[in-house]
């Protein structure tokens, strides 16, 4: 706490510019005592990290043989050679993981800081935190758990961000040459970065839910439109891209104030789209995830593009110029080389944009962005006439006839898509193979860059798919935000006992190996099986973008309750802490564990009892790395798609190492074999089928009741048999007593167990990795 006094006159002295710093004051009115680790430093939870890392050891997958981060390099690190600084390959890989997680944590914390500064300016420091009214008492589970403070107003969040910023600075500094030298300590710091990231995200979402009145823990948040074809192209169209929503709210507010809402379309891509529909589900629409950027911009539909921050293509301005669309950059983190016109009169800026004097402007004032965007788009749209950069079909066919089949496009494609084959077919007038490519395309356009003929191949693919894209219209449930305390009370017991088989969190970006449909398939499979399916960000969008035979999307078919069989869109990337928070709240509300600054004990509880698993099927970014890392430290395993192997490090358990899988029985202190539960902490699956089986398996926890274990095994075995065509070969590791065996599979499994020479084991109700939690120590 800092107290500044300009002038203080007393009987004995006159003091000017007095500043008193009294350190951190923790709230005294909160009855819950402060736990052991308020505002933990980068080493305070190191012991917990080491427990996890002892069980889930890193498997490094170097992207490159060398290190090139300092001028002594490049250093060849092959065969575990050491570089000029003394670092070996394992530590270098762990350093890169830490770097990625620190970038992710910095990005969310920076996002939260800019958002909070704006909201405090607009709504005041005393604006109350309210994420769910009377339905949510624990408004900030992650913040309470990590920092030990209970924020009540926007102003209270500043101190939380001060802490995050300090930690991120320390973490980043550990990456410097000549700092940390141990791979395991780098890993511990990466886990710290993940935890900080969760706090930063929670601050951002709490602040925007509270100030902007987003849906507040509402299972019945409204449905809104999503898809390439949702925009009414007869109107001027504003496209917003990014993650930080104030400039987009500025547009909605201006259109509302001027009663222009029927005259302009506002559509969005990526998380800013999710958040603008949380702000105004009736006025805003979602085009799609991150990978929809090029296909939509090149279509010529947007008459104006507003970008804020994160996950925006670096060539957005270049692409916008190709369709004669002006751009407004609105974040200090993404200025695009544009002139800062924040202080210029709005009329001047509008005139410059409409007349095409400048390709775009930087405006660091969300309200001004609203005015300039709305007025500019109405003037620009009639001039542009939806000028597009997608070629006509005839041009595609003609170009295809000039394709030399050099394969450079395919070799540049992350998904090895058969573009040369499709071009050969297109040359003969058959555009079907080209249009099929769009299904699996992540929209990176590396094919464009690679083509020696400079063919805009991504545009060819979009041109071939135009008819289906126009029809692309779906429904998505608007992000609901937090999980209600009463929902936790209802499901906490069934989750911990294993009767609700698990919580599956489908999160992350859209770098999918086979398009977003695989995410939707996973969501439906587990919702049907009565798991709780939660979603955020691009994954939440991908879930929406499939229809059944009756034309219904998953959000129309499944409820938004945090309950068995629900598909729960909690919101954007920064809403991920609501999922972590739900796990934390189970420990706090259901198990009544102290929450305040009690990270290790709560993480131990979540790890051993809460059958939750994260799935980031298209994880691409550093933010996705830090989000995953936040779940790891909390003891929640994360599965990524095959591209996730490029994060260069897995955290894998070894089920064949029996000695790795002993937990303490907190009642007696006995060390008891609990099986590989959960088997991995971070792992990339090769196929959707493999991931689905692993999801079911990773939901198994040591504390499952026999009934719960039987339910979980039923799903694991059933999925394995259906997708692999055979029984799993490790059932004996998960059957503790015969009562764990699913009744419908009893004979078959008993035979299997006999073959494996299985012996009955013990069930412990209170497993823990922490010796300090043992209640009665044996002498």
């Amino acid at each position: 706490m800092n107290i500044k006094i300009k002038e203080l006159k007393t009987d004995v002295a006159v003091m000017k510019n007095l500043e008193v710093s009294v350190g951190r004051v923790l709230e005294e009115t909160w009855a819950e005592p402060v736990g052991p680790t308020p505002f933990p430093s980068i080493t305070d939870l190191r012991e917990w990290d080491f427990k996890l890392l002892q069980r889930y050891k890193p498997f490094y997958l170097p992207f490159c043989d060398v290190c090139c981060l300092c001028t002594m390099g490049k250093c060849d690190l092959t065969g575990n050679k050491r570089g000029a600084c003394g670092l070996n390959m394992a530590a270098q890989q762990a350093r890169i993981v830490l770097l990625a997680c620190s970038i992710g944590a910095a990005t969310h914390t920076g996002h939260a800081r800019h958002l909070l500064e704006h909201l405090i300016e607009k709504f005041g420091r005393s604006c109350p935190i309210d994420v769910g009214g009377i339905n949510v008492d624990i408004e900030a589970p992650v913040t309470r758990l990590v920092t030990g403070i209970r924020p009540k107003t926007l102003g209270d969040l500043e101190e939380v961000l001060d802490y995050c910023e300090t930690e991120v600075t320390h973490l980043l500094s550990a990456c410097h040459t000549g700092q940390e030298g141990s791979n395991i300590d780098f890993e511990s710091k990466a886990l710290h970065a993940g935890m900080i990231d969760q706090v930063g995200m929670e601050v951002a979402d709490m602040a925007q839910i509270s100030a902007y009145s987003f849906p507040k823990a509402d299972p019945e948040a409204p449905l809104t439109d999503i898809g390439w074809g949702v925009a009414d192209v007869s109107k001027p169209v504003i496209l917003v891209i990014g993650h930080n929503v104030p400039s987009s709210t500025g547009i909605i507010d201006y259109l509302t104030d001027k009663r222009l809402y029927n005259k302009v379309e506002v559509v969005g891509i990526c998380c800013t789209a999710i958040d603008i529909t949380r702000y105004s589900p009736s006025m805003a629409k979602i085009v799609g995830p991150i990978s929809w950027q090029l296909r939509f911009i090149r279509s010529g539909i947007p008459d104006l593009i507003v970008v804020d921050e994160q996950c925006i293509r670096a060539d957005a301005l270049v692409e916008a110029q190709k369709i004669k669309t002006p751009v407004i950059a609105s974040s200090p983190k993404n200025c695009l080389g544009l002139e800062d016109r924040t202080k210029s009169p709005a009329k001047e800026i509008i005139s410059d944009l409409v007349e095409g004097k400048v390709p775009g402007v930087l405006i660091l004032d969300p309200e001004k962005v609203g005015e300039v965007a709305a007025e500019t788009v109405m003037a620009v749209a009639p001039k542009r006439k939806k000028f597009k950069s997608i070629p006509e079909i005839e041009e595609v066919i003609k170009a295809a006839q000039g394709c030399t089949q050099c394969n450079e496009c395919r070799r540049a494609c992350p998904n090895d898509l058969p573009i040369p084959y499709a071009m050969k077919a297109a040359a003969k007038g058959d555009l079907k193979p080209l249009s099929e490519i769009l299904e699996d395309c992540i929209g990176c356009a590396r094919c464009d860059s690679a083509c020696p003929n400079d063919f805009p191949l991504h545009s060819f693919v979009v041109a071939a798919s135009q008819k289906s894209l126009i029809k692309e219209k779906f429904k998505i449930r608007v992000g609901r935000g937090a999980i209600q305390d009463v929902e936790i009370r209802n499901v906490g017991g069934p989750i911990v006992l294993g009767e609700i088989p698990g919580v599956v969190a489908l999160v992350g970006c859209a770098n999918y190996p086979h398009g977003g449909r695989e995410v939707a398939e996973m969501a439906e499979e587990f919702a049907k099986r009565r798991y709780i399916v939660t979603a955020t960000g691009c994954a939440a969008m991908s879930i929406a973008m499939q229809k059944d035979e009756e034309g219904k999307t998953l959000y129309e078919k499944y409820p938004g309750d945090f309950d068995a069989g629900g598909i729960v869109n909690v919101g954007s990337c920064v809403s991920n802490p609501h999922i972590a928070g739900a796990a934390i709240k189970i420990a706090s509300i259901f198990a009544k564990l102290p929450l305040r600054a009690n990270y290790e004990e709560i993480a131990d509880y979540v790890h051993t009892r809460v059958g939750a698993v994260g799935v980031a099927w298209g994880a691409m970014s550093q933010k996705a790395a830090s989000i995953a890392s936040g779940f790891w430290r909390l003891g929640v395993p994360v599965i990524v798609g095959p591209h996730g192997s490029k994060y260069r490090r897995m955290l894998l358990g070894r089920k064949d190492h029996e000695e790795d899988w002993y937990d303490y029985d907190a009642r007696t202190g006995d060390r008891v074999y609990v099986g590989p539960t959960p088997e991995h902490l971070f792992y990339a699956a090769e196929t959707k089928e493999e991931a689905m089986v692993m999801i079911a398996k990773l939901c198994i926890r040591p504390a499952d009741t026999t009934k719960g274990r039987a339910v979980k095994l039923t799903h694991y075995i059933d999925l394995h048999r259906r997708l692999y065509g055979i029984l799993p070969d490790d059932i004996h590791l998960f059957v503790r007593t015969k009562a764990d065996i699913p009744i419908t599979m009893k004979d078959e499994i008993l035979k299997f167990l006999e073959k494996k020479k299985w012996k009955e084991g013990r069930i412990i109700n209170i497993p823990t990795l922490l010796p300090r939690l043992i209640r009665e120590r044996k002498e």
């Binding site: 060849d76 090895d416 894998l652 065509g725």
Partner: protein
């Protein structure tokens, strides 16, 4: 044969790159020399067509001729069984990579770690990374060979990028030479 360049253009590895397999006899010699070989086959073996057969059929032929245990990754164990072939084990690609890295691993049969691992049928980039992990952390006990169609620079030995026909011919030749006892 084509040049030995990574199939995905930007997947440049570094100073240590795979030796190029110039003729099938190299693979045959390596397999024959190995004391404990193993064959890791990924899901793309089921998707990739070589003429009228699939890559998995060639993998089975090679494994039978060489009498090498197969580890099926992803979800394809059932596809092997449908073809009357029982893999020695099945597990995720990351798990087999992690176990091959561990010099103390006892193998799928409990008889000890392997000294030669053949790879086929994962996504190019995923196989690339697993081979990298093994190149850096298993180099003392393990030699790796990619028998895939595309050059894998992190393997110890790899075919260069090939046309399907060339690849088919190479796999047929390896199998046939291994059959000549």
């Amino acid at each position: 044969m084509a040049r030995a360049e990574p199939w995905q253009t930007a997947e440049i590895s570094g100073p240590k790159k795979a030796h190029v397999i110039t003729k099938p006899a190299v693979v045959v010699a390596m397999i024959k020399k190995a004391k404990r070989p193993i064959f890791v086959v990924g899901h793309k073996a089921v998707e990739t067509e070589l003429g009228e057969k699939k890559a998995i059929d060639f993998a089975i032929g090679l494994a039978k001729a060489a009498e090498i245990p197969v580890v099926a990754t992803a979800h394809i164990v059932g596809e092997f069984i449908k073809r009357g072939f029982h893999p020695a084990a099945w597990m995720p690609a990351m798990d087999i990579g992690n176990r091959l890295k561990d010099s103390e691993w006892n193998g799928v049969d409990g008889e000890g770690q392997y000294d030669l691992a053949l790879f086929m049928g994962m996504q190019y980039y995923m196989e690339w990374l697993i081979l990298s992990g093994l190149k850096h952390f298993a180099y003392k006990h393990l030699t790796t060979i990619s028998v895939d169609r595309f050059y894998q620079p992190h393997a110890t030995w790899s075919f260069p990028n090939m046309k399907i026909e060339e690849w088919t011919k190479n796999l047929e030749d390896i199998t046939s030479m291994l059959g000549e006892k």
